[in-house]
Symmetry: C2
Subunit: 154 residues, 2 copies
């Protein structure tokens, strides 16, 4: 508020912007996750894919993309890296050769145990109660859905 004096008109500043709060919170989450995920040898987007596969194994590239709002241009290289690390396999579906099924290797399934206490670490780092975290998550997801509806309607 000291610096805003230089700014004679009514435009909003960076700290007034919801998008910047989200952008910088996303960066902050990454910085908290990084040391935890380094233990597993995963990046944050790779971890999200593993979480999805731990939920349900054998999903198609497109299924993963639908959940993450990512397309094959991002997912294909990421999945190839997870495959090179030995965590997943990628096989074309015999019934429809266009589709690629992503499956956990035993190593990828086992990694879940090492990741088990990450959510607790994150909850602790956030300084929130579990109830507040759930409430905030729901609010943010609701705004995200509104933005996505607006974006797909042009």
């Amino acid at each position: 508020m000291t610096k805003r004096a230089q700014n004679a008109d009514a435009d909003i500043g960076l700290n007034d912007m919801l998008c910047f709060a989200v952008y910088s919170a996303n960066h902050a989450f990454n910085r908290v996750y990084r040391p935890l995920l380094n233990e597993l040898g995963l990046t944050y987007p790779q971890y999200l894919v593993m979480v999805l596969l731990w939920e349900a194994d054998g999903q198609r590239v497109g299924d993963l993309g639908a959940r993450l709002s990512l397309e094959s241009n991002t997912l294909t290289p990421l999945l190839k890296r997870l495959e090179a690390l030995g965590h997943i396999g990628r096989v074309r579906d015999a019934a429809d050769e266009r589709q690629v099924r992503v499956t956990l290797t035993p190593q990828g399934a086992a990694l879940r145990e090492k990741a088990r206490d990450i959510p607790r670490c994150i909850l602790e780092a956030s300084g929130l109660t579990l109830d507040d975290l759930v409430r905030l998550k729901t609010e943010i997801a609701s705004v995200r859905d509104a933005l996505e509806r607006h974006a797909s309607a042009q």
Copy 2:
């Protein structure tokens, strides 16, 4: 909750994660901003830098980085692109040659007019009232600050 049945144990899924709500909301903001910023020929991070310079011209690279939580490895190439576009100038400070001052060109200052109604478009797309947006922004910024305190304390 239908698919969770496949998942016999108590691990959390993607939709339970606050970090994913933030991650995907950030993507959704980008998708809403993209067509608006295409009109200006800016990317979203470039727009954030311009917002900072419209707040206060002549900041150092490090000042911008402190506000955005970015370092010179990210900012230097980004600023060079803004310079190539003719929106800013980058000059070494005569009093301390280590520092680089970033200043708006007349063209960069004028771009502010074309950006003026972006915040209103975003507010509309979010589906929130201004009061709810401010409240949510404050909550998210508070979590971000808690995460950053946790990250810098290792």
